[in-house]
Amino acid sequence: MRKRRENVKNHEREVRVFRHRSLVAALIIVLMAGAIVSRLVYLQVIEHDVFITRSDNNRMRVEPLPPRRGLIYDRHGKLLAENRPTYNLTIVRERVDDLDTTLQRLVDILDLPEDEVETFRERSRQRQRPYQPALLISDLTEDQIARLAVNRYLLSGVEVEAQLMRYYPDPIVMSHVLGYVGRINAEELADLDPGNYAGTHFIGKTGIEYTYEDALHGKAGLRKVETNARGRVLRELERSPAVPGKDITLTIDSRLQHMAYDLLGGRRGAIVAIQPKTGDILAMVSAPGFDINKFVTGISYKDYRALQENLDLPLYNRAVRGQYPPGSTVKPFEALAALQDGVVKPDDIIYDPGYFQLPNDTRRYHNWLRWGHGRVDLERALEVSNNTYFYTMAYRLGIDRLSAFMHQFGFGEVTSLDVQGALPGLMPSREWKREKYNQVWYPGETLSAGIGQGYFMATPLQLAAATATLANHGHWVRPHLAKRVGDEAIEPPFADTKPDVELDKARWWQDVYKGMEAVLNGSEGTARKVGAGMQYQMAAKTGTAQVFSLGQNQKYDADELTERLRDHALFIGFAPVDDPQIAIAVIVENAGGGVSGLGRELTDAWLLPDSELKDPPDTTVNEEVESIDGD
């Protein structure tokens, strides 16, 4: 390219080249410095707002302060649901290096069954936000806490956290009234206000805990804290305290509740007692109950399966979800329907040959007494629970009029104010059958409905509410479980209350009451043995509900059937008749009969001055922890 270079240094040229090159270098340096400066201007001036926000988000963390859950008392102030400090194991996934290893270590350290790992993994996924702890195990024992403390260095991201946990001192008898709280699940989470529930692990699942969740939960507070990069809280910047949940006083009298539970004596059944004037549910028992405390801590799979496979269905709230044929207990209401609709007068005599026949039909609808009660008026019909009389009434009314009147007493409807899960039962009608089965209504079905059988279904709560309304001369008060929520008294009148049942003649109430009194004190009364020696006037009606349909002209022997096919025994009643204080519905499954005694014992306990229920209530106030804050 050019002349062969001499192996000689050209000093002048070297200096010139060097000067040139260093000039170029200086230029490049200026360009590079310019790049840095423009980058700095971009970061520190143009995007400054973005980064200042990011740096604040870095150091500031908003921590929820979960509110203390409201307590639940019975009507006399006895504590039914409280909060106890327990120690829980929580995990923050973001701080765990290797989730599988950590979970396996926990299983090893705490000596848990191997299959817990999968449960853990599931629970560790359940979390609200990044860096929010997920609950792994509740209610650690002292021993477990100690073992965790020793192995703490192996378990980054795992924390033992003190927490207030729901505790029910009377878990079995109160189970179906209170319901229980449990861990918030994914579906519930979707419907919750995430801010308010940020620090809350539990939510009311059933019962009062569910119905009054909002009031019991309270309002979460929050604190703004400054943290370092490892999440350690350095100082509190701001705090707005949580508003504790409201305490709830129930209408339940826990001693009456216990008495009712004990009266059922281990049998399957339900008892509901209502104060007619106020609608207060004094007792609401479904037996057997179950230990609701187990559900708070997270019931083990084994225990849960045992509950589910138990033939007595302890999880089933019979009092509000048990839909039974009400049997003869509907007769007083049906009598009112017949009177009001003018198909009979109180003194009208119906002749009972032992059966009823529809016109142009050979089928005989039998009275329970095969040879019949002979001449029967309204009072005697109720006293002896005559079927022929009520077949006649039902036939005369027809299903539509009967159904419409029974609806006024709440049959086929949910009338309660705050009872979670209450079912409406079934008050059949022509229209219902057409819609449901696309079939015509047969006259024979009217007769079945007339003695509370066939399609007719009612829950114990409905029967008690109807009885209370009957006791009130038709005045409706919605039955309710809460007497006081925080400072607010839960008192009638309630919104959406059914209109009162109006009769053309007020004395018809007395006519029906007289028949119901005769059930207990008449010479032929179906519960005359129980009614002996009563110190107050009580109106009642017994009933049986067939579990097993008998064919025409079939007779059965209760002993030959297995116990579970025997009739359900029912009882409704209220007392005293002139100033009703309590209305009761009792149902004992497969009892065959004879449960009126339960009703009387409860009214005795409620009304008699020497009853133990009249003792000053035991309202020992438990020592209570106000709240436990984080850290």
Binding site: V17, A33, H48
Partner: protein, 380 residues
Amino acid sequence: MATDFQRVAPGNHRARVGRKRSLWLRVHLDPWLLSILLLLISFGLVVLYSASGMSASTTMAQASRMGVALLGAIVIAQFSPGTLFRWTPVAYGGGLLMLIAVEIMGDIGMGAQRWLEIGPLRFQPSELMKIAMPMMLAAYFHRRPLPPTWRDLIVCAVIVGVPVLLIARQPDLGTSLLVTCAAVFVILLAGLSWKFILALVALAGGAAPLLWINMHDYQRQRVLTFLNPESDPLGAGWNIIQSKTAIGSGGLEGKGWGLGTQSQLEFLPERHTDFIVAVLGEEFGLIGMSTILVLYLLLVSRGLVMANNAQDTYGRLLAGSIVLTFFIYVFVNIGMVTGILPVVGVPLPLVSYGGTSSVTLMAGFGILMSIHTHRRLLTH
């Protein structure tokens, strides 16, 4: 004359004193360079005090370390470039031997390591190479007519390649690149023709995939993270996100000394070493960043002036390379912390906490002063 010049070690001519030499020249120091260095070191210590979480002991340790390094520079400045020239092959050869020793020790089973331990001293041979490499090349070109030829380049490739490969195998990609840089600057300043430069750039571009293949996983991760730091915000991208947040949130005036929340609350990793400039950016803002940048630019300018005043090839090339490499350190570090360059473990010169690199840098400035103050004054 030229031949004669060629045979004589540079800067070794007896000074023919025409007029009285200034005091600064007699103590072989440059007042400009020293003042800027002192300003930078002081500013650095102020930042370090905050970055170390107000640790007086850390700051004092660094101050004394910088004092020793400065003293070392002053001592080195007393040696004439001729002496340095004569010792150049020893420094280079010794460094090479020590690199080999490190390599062998790694093979024997002490794991990857960068240090040699001689008694209580821990010595990093790659640091020595940062100085010995430009010295060696400058000395080579000092004996050669310039601009460099193909033959020269091949010789250079050997001189540069062997130690650089050894350093890269330690593995210390950052240092090996910086040593290469120092060497490249010598070659460029020696007047390598633009055609060669373009060809080399093209070659480097072609070699990039090869480099990628030979990278360690963590090195590749750094590059990937640089390309998209948000991809792994809690892992590898954390450093960059936090340092950008620190600098960006500093704004124009900064949050104030010791008040940077990113730094003081430990969101910023390696805040007193590689990422110290983020502390500066957060607490002193754009004003503080501009100040330190101006100080660095002043230092580099003074260095370039001194290099241009050098009277022989060896001094010129060595001084130029030292100055340019110094700026590369600054650029790579700030570029990394502000997120325009990938994360490589390069400390901010004279400011980051740590001894080894300061000593090397100061030695460089000592050489610079030696070259500058041992001139034949007649030419002035």
